[in-house]
């Protein structure tokens, strides 16, 4: 029995070992080594890589921009997803059509969606001249908001679906009780729906914060980090350090270890916050 269990689990174990555990060990070692793309490992040099990352002139702007982008995206995306979930809550043919319409963008890849909006935003091809916006990507602020619109379009249906699951788990008699107590629609939403939806919302927030902190495709394709490096995210900085210009794998590894640590801390805090509220 034990042997058989391991035999069936062996492919999983091999995959996890070769493509996950070993790379984690390599990246940890890289982060404390002088390791260039072309020359390979040239020995231990800690803490130089970490020092270089903190001294990089784009490091703090990238951290700041990533945080700003994460907060803006999470607030707007979850707010809209909640509204959409409330709209399509009942099932009927009409809401079926609405659900499909909201969900279709989430079948697209993030890269495809970014390419689509790249064409949608470019002066030569845009059909949006009637909005009277001079440039969608030309200023730092415009580039940020244009990207947020793309992300909201791509992911709103996905988060709507997750919240819909939460909404449908609320038993009908809770609403009935609220109605008998004379609660109006806003009160029902504020004091019944929202508290009971808290764990779904928290899960969406964790997913959304994690995804936004690791943003890459959309900025790589849409803004290339511009204008004037104003939309460089942390993951883009990792990519640039490793494969573009600096070709310094050690430094990129040090930054990715820092990102991993930040992500773990944020997730632990979010889980803890969630548990405290429930307890």
């Amino acid at each position: 029995m034990k042997f058989k269990g391991w035999a069936y689990a062996a492919p999983t174990a091999l995959f996890v070992l070769i493509f996950f555990v070993v790379p984690i060990a390599i990246v940890a070692r890289m982060s404390v080594s002088d390791w260039r793309l072309l020359t390979g490992n040239r020995g231990f040099n800690a803490p130089e890589n970490y020092q270089d990352v903190l001294d990089d002139r784009l490091f703090w702007p990238a951290v700041w921009f990533t945080l700003k982008y994460t907060v803006v995206t999470t607030v707007i995306l979850l707010g809209l997803a909640l509204i959409l979930a409330l709209i399509v809550q009942e099932s009927s043919r009409w809401t079926g059509f609405l659900r499909t319409s909201f969900l279709v963008p989430s079948a697209l890849g993030l890269a495809s969606a970014s390419l689509l909006f790249y064409a949608l935003y470019s002066p030569q091809s845009t059909p949006l001249e009637f909005l009277g916006i001079d440039s969608f990507l030309g200023t730092p602020n415009a580039a940020l908001w244009s990207t947020v619109v793309l992300i909201v379009w791509r992911f709103a249906g996905f988060y709507m679906l997750l919240l819909l699951v939460g909404l449908q788990a609320i038993p009908g008699d809770v609403y009935e009780a609220a109605r008998l107590d004379g609660a109006n629609r806003f009160q029902t939403f504020r004091f019944v729906t929202l508290p009971l939806l808290k764990s779904s919302l928290a899960m969406c927030a964790i997913l959304c914060v994690t995804g936004s902190m690791l943003a890459f495709d959309q900025f790589y394709i849409l803004t290339k980090g511009g204008p004037d490096n104003s939309t460089i995210t942390v993951v883009q900085l990792i990519y640039n350090m490793a494969f573009y210009g600096q070709n310094n794998l050690g430094r990129a590894a040090a930054l990715s270890i820092l990102v991993l640590a930040a992500l773990l801390i944020v997730n632990v805090l979010q889980f803890r916050g969630l548990r405290d509220k429930e307890g």
């Binding site: 689990a9 890269a111 390419l115």
Partner: protein, 268 residues
């Protein structure tokens, strides 16, 4: 439930979500200056795409191969793994399951830099097989989780009666359990396909040879051709070719797509 004004507002919202897709499809065949389609409607932009460098056929083939390999590897590994985690007790079972789920916690970028070095050592850097193996690893947390709960939902009597009848555990799996967990397999396969077809950063890092680029990478690279002048018509056509199979699969398998997210939601 829905009165007319509400229908107008919600319908307008739905159109807002559909608009970019409809626009891209129309723009890719409509006349536009600076593209291959200047006069009248037609497929000039698709022609440009077809003749771009190695030809769209090559990139479509690359994407198809990578996606099919990823689906195959993911289904095989997660079917066996899910069976092991759900039906057997063995030392290290919980630890292995947790480490598999932990893949979700680690950013792609953190893993791709060492994977680039590791695959070079293994002689698989710049290879579609190597790319598919890495994409499979990224799929494993969801796939293993999904297959484990699928096997756990199967009534225990089903495999037991098969074993009593003298089936080996492998034949029991193949003939009796696989049909029982088919919905789980469809969900896992669909997600693996969409993820592999659409992934961008993994081939960007691991594939250096333009001939071997999957479609998203090829379309993104295409924009930088011809002295910095972007052919938006060809880009729009590329988006349509990229999106079409995904939207088709989504519409056909919508129930499974929704189910997949819902069982994913159980984790939270």
């Amino acid at each position: 439930m829905f009165r007319t004004p509400q229908r107008v507002v919600t319908g307008g919202l739905a159109l807002l979500f559909l608009f970019p897709l409809v626009w891209a499809s129309l723009a890719s065949v409509s006349p536009q200056a600076g593209t291959a389609q200047i006069d009248g409607w037609g497929f000039g932009n698709y022609q440009t795409l077809a003749n771009y460098q190695a030809g769209i056929g090559q990139y479509l083939l690359n994407s198809t191969l990578v996606s099919l390999m990823t689906v195959l590897f993911t289904l095989t590994v997660s079917l066996l793994g899910g069976y092991a985690f759900a039906m057997f007790r063995f030392p290290g079972r919980d630890a292995l399951f947790l480490v598999t789920l932990a893949i979700l916690m680690v950013p792609y970028a953190t893993l791709l830099i060492p994977l680039y070095v590791l695959l070079t050592e293994l002689g698989m850097q710049n290879s579609l097989v190597g790319l598919a193996l890495v994409l499979t690893m990224f799929q494993l947390p969801f796939a293993t989780f999904m297959m484990r709960i699928s096997f756990e939902a199967v009534p225990k009597e089903l495999p037991e009666s098969a074993l009593v009848d003298g089936c080996g555990s492998f034949r029991a799996l193949l003939h009796i359990l696989v049909p029982a967990v088919r919905p789980g397999l469809i969900t896992v396969g669909l997600f693996a396909f969409l993820a592999a077809w659409n992934d961008f950063i993994t081939p960007l890092v691991l594939i250096s040879d333009a001939e071997k680029a999957p479609l998203p990478l090829a379309v993104a690279n295409m924009r930088q051709q011809v002295m910095g002048i972007v052919d938006f018509g060809a880009t729009e056509a590329g988006v349509v070719v990229l999106a079409f199979p995904c939207i088709l699969l989504f519409l056909v398998l919508q129930r499974h797509y929704v189910r997949g997210f819902m069982s994913g939601a159980l984790k939270g």
